[in-house]
C-alpha cells in the first residue's frame, strides 16, 4: 500500500496549483465566464504548455500519463480553482476516443490536442436520452460510399469551440440497443450541421446540435461500424473519474472557504465558528471529505481493471461524491449566510460547479441504481 503521489504526479499537481492560484483568481475567472467564448484561449494554451493535456494521455498516445491517478490529479486541481475550460470534452472524451479507436489519420490529431491547438466535443446525449448511454436515435445511413447523419444532440459541451465533433449515431438496432452505435468524426462546419449555443449555469458553453442530412465519408467513422458503445463506455469511465475528482477539488475549496469564514466572520461579538451548532456541522463536512477523498482514490485506482469491476467502483464513487457534494455545497452556503449567495463570491461559483457535475453522465440516483445492478451481476 502506498497512498503517495508519484514524483511526476506530485510535480504536476504543484505546477498546476501554482499556475492556477497565480493566474486564475476569482475575478479573472468570472471575467472568463462572462466572455463570449466562455473560456480563455490564453489559459488553455498555457496549461497545454505546462503539460496538463499531455498528462491525460498515455506515452503510447503521445502523452506522459493517462492513468486513473493522472486524471484524478489534474481534475482535482482544476476543480479546486473552479476552472471552466473544457479539458473533459476536448481531452478526455474527444482526444480519448481518437486515441483509443481512431484510424492513423484520426490518431494524428491527438498530438494537436495535446499541444492545445485543437478542440473537440462529444455529441452523444440526445433530448430524450437523459443518462441512458445506449439510447441513440440519431441515424447513420449509407449513401453510396458516404454516410448520412440525421438527428439531434443535447447539451453538447464545447460544441461551438470544437474543430471536430464526435457524433454517435445508430447504424442498426433499435433506440436503446448497445449494438449498432457508431461514432463519426464530423467537422464543425459540415453542411447540415447547425447549433444553438448557450452559456451554462456553472460556466463554460454548450449547444443543441442538429444534424440534418450531414454527409461524411466512410473514413470519418471511428473504429468499427456498430461497435462504438464499448469504447464510448471506456472514455465515459475516464470522464466519471475526472468529474468525481473535479467535484472533490471544488469541495476542498468550499470547505476551506467555509473554515476561513467561520474563523473570521463575527456576529454577537465572536467568530461564528465558535457556535457549536456550526462547529459540529463543519466537522461533519471534514468527516465526509475523508470519505470523498477515498472514493475518488477508489475510482481512479480501478480505472485500469476489467470493465465490470471498474464500472461498479465508478458508480459507487459518483454516488458518494454526489451525496457529499450536495451536502458540502449546501452547508457551505448556509454557514456563510447571505454573502455566499452573491455571484462574485468564490463559493457561489464553486458550489455551482460541484452541483452541476451531478448532471453529467449520471446523477447520484443513476449511479446508485447502476451500483446495485452491477453488484448483483
Amino acid at each position: 500500500m502506498n497512498f503517495d503521489l508519484t514524483e511526476e504526479r506530485q510535480m504536476l499537481q504543484d505546477t498546476l496549483r501554482r499556475y492556477l492560484s497565480d493566474k486564475y483568481d476569482t475575478a479573472s475567472r468570472n471575467k472568463i465566464i462572462d466572455s463570449d467564448a466562455g473560456m480563455s484561449a490564453e489559459v488553455w494554451a498555457q496549461l497545454a504548455e505546462l503539460g496538463v493535456i499531455g498528462a491525460l494521455f498515455t506515452e503510447e498516445d503521445g502523452g506522459f500519463g493517462g492513468k486513473g491517478f493522472d486524471i484524478s490529479t489534474v481534475f482535482e486541481e482544476l476543480g479546486r480553482a473552479g476552472v471552466v475550460e473544457p479539458f473533459l470534452d476536448t481531452a478526455i472524451l474527444g482526444g480519448g476516443l481518437l486515441a483509443a479507436i481512431g484510424s492513423d489519420d484520426q490518431k494524428a490529431l491527438v498530438e494537436e490536442v495535446i499541444g492545445g491547438g485543437l478542440h473537440l466535443a462529444l455529441a452523444h446525449g440526445e433530448p430524450a436520452s437523459r443518462f441512458d448511454l445506449s439510447r441513440v436515435e440519431t441515424t447513420a445511413k449509407a449513401d453510396g460510399g458516404d454516410i448520412v447523419l440525421n438527428g439531434r444532440k443535447a447539451v453538447v459541451v464545447n460544441a461551438e469551440a470544437a474543430d471536430h465533433l464526435i457524433v454517435s449515431a445508430r447504424e442498426s438496432g433499435s433506440a436503446a440497443d448497445k449494438d449498432g452505435i457508431s461514432l463519426f468524426l464530423v467537422e464543425k462546419d459540415a453542411a447540415g450541421l447547425t447549433m444553438r449555443g448557450y452559456p451554462m449555469l456553472a460556466g463554460g458553453r454548450a449547444a443543441e446540435v442538429t444534424l440534418d442530412g450531414v454527409k461524411v465519408p466512410a473514413s470519418a467513422r471511428l473504429g468499427e461500424a456498430g461497435k462504438g458503445f464499448a469504447p464510448l463506455m471506456d472514455v465515459i469511465a475516464k470522464a466519471n473519474v475526472a468529474l468525481a475528482a473535479e467535484a472533490l477539488g471544488a469541495m476542498h475549496s468550499a470547505v476551506e472557504l467555509t473554515r476561513e469564514y467561520l474563523t473570521t466572520r463575527k456576529q454577537f461579538g465572536r467568530p461564528i465558528g465558535t457556535f457549536q451548532a456550526l462547529a459540529h456541522r463543519y466537522s461533519d463536512l471534514l468527516i465526509e471529505m475523508e470519505q470523498a477523498t477515498s472514493a475518488v482514490i477508489n475510482a481512479a485506482g480501478h480505472l485500469e481493471v476489467d470493465a465490470a469491476e471498474r464500472d461498479r467502483q465508478i458508480a459507487s464513487t459518483r454516488n458518494l461524491i454526489g451525496r457529499v457534494g450536495r451536502l458540502v455545497a449546501e452547508e457551505s452556503i448556509q454557514m456563510h449566510g447571505g454573502i455566499a449567495m452573491t455571484k462574485e463570491y468564490e463559493l457561489a461559483h464553486i458550489a455551482k460547479r460541484i452541483v452541476m457535475t451531478d448532471h453529467r453522465f449520471g446523477d447520484t440516483d443513476y449511479h446508485l441504481e447502476r451500483f446495485i445492478e452491477l453488484s448483483a451481476a
Binding site: 441512458d132 443535447a154 448557450y198 452559456p199 454577537f268 448556509q334 447571505g338 458550489a351 448532471h359
Partner: protein, 396 residues
Amino acid sequence: MDLNYTAEEVAFREEVREFLKEKLPKELSAKVKARKHLSKDDMERWHAILNEKGWLAPNWPKEFGGAEWNAVQKHIFEEETARAGSPRIVPFGLSMLAPVLQKFGSKEQQDYYLPRILNGDDWWCQGYSEPGAGSDLASLKTRAVREGDHYIVNGQKTWTTLGQYANMIFCLVRTDTEVKQQEGISFLLIDMNTPGIEVRPIILLDGVHEVNEVFFDNVKVPVENLVGEENKGWTYAKYLLTHERTNIAGVGYSQAGLESVKRIARAESANGKPLIENPYFAARLAQVEIDLMAMATSNMRIISKAAAGQAPGVESSMLKVKGTIIRQELNDLARRAVGPYAMPFPSESVEGDNDPIGPDYAAPVSAAYFNNRKLSIFGGSNEIQRGIIAKVKMGG
C-alpha cells in the same frame, strides 16, 4: 378534531377560487408557473387588482382599509393564490411596515402612508441588515444624528430586496451609541430620492438582480419620519418580525412546487419509462410529499390556535425551519428531474420570450434551486430559529 374546513370556510375558499379564475391575468399566472421573472409592472398590476377587490391587505384592520381576515381565511387565500400561480405580493410595505405604523406610527404617518401603500404609490424596501449586522441585527452601525429638525444619516444597508424599484426605505438606525445596543436603535422612514443615497446592485448566484446595497452619505431625514419614539426602534422591529413570520411555512408554495415536480417527472423519461415511475426518484418524491402532508396539518393546527386568539410562539420558528427544508428539497428534486438540461444558464429563456433550451419546464429549475438557498438564510436563519426554539423551551 375535524380535519375539514367549516361550511363558511369552504364558501370562502370557493369565493377566492372564483375570484382568481376571473381576475388573475393568464399572462401573469403563466409567467409565475414557468418561473419567469416578473417585471415591476407585473407585480404592480396584481397589486392593483387585489386592491380593487379589497383583498390586498388581509392582515390589516378594517379601519385602515384591510380585509381583517382571521388566520384560517388568510391561510386559505395564501394556499389558493399560490396554487393558481398568482404573483407574490411584495411584502415590505403591506405586511412589514404597515403593522408597525398601525401600532406605533403617528396619526399623520398613518393617514399619509397607509393609503399610499394600498394604492401602490410607494414601493417600500426593508433596510435592516448591514454588512456587519446580519443575524446579530442589534449590532447595526448606520448612524442617525439629530440636527435641528432633521436626522443626518450615514452608513450602509445591504441585501435590500428589490431596492432598485423602491422609492421609500424603512431603516433601523443607531441614534444612541452610549447605551446597550438594543436601546440605541430608532426606526426611520427614508425617501430614496434624498441626496446622498446610492443604490448598488448585488447580483445573486443565479445571475439575478434581486438585492442591493444602499449607501447613506449625510442623508437629511425630517424628524417627522421617525416612527414612535427615538431609541425604541428595536421593539418595533421585533414586532415587525412577528409579522414577517406569518405564512412562514409556505405550504401553498410547497404544494405548487410538488405539483410542478410531478409534472416534470411525468414528462421526463429514464430508461424508456416516465421518471415518475423510477423507484429511486419516486421514493425521494414520496418522502417529501409525506413530510408536506404532515406539515400542512401542523400549519393548520397552529393557525387554528392563532384564529382562536392565541399568539403562536416557537411554533412559527418550527414552521419556518420545516417549511424551508421542504421547499428546498422540492427545488432539489426539480433540478434532478431535468437531468442534463439542468446545465444551461437560464437567463435567456427565463427573462425573455426566447424559445427555451430543452423542455420549457427545465429552464428555471437550477436557478431556483440555487436562489432558494436564501430561504434558510433570511427572515431569521434556520440556525437562529433553532436557537430560539431551544432557548424558549429550556427557559434560557
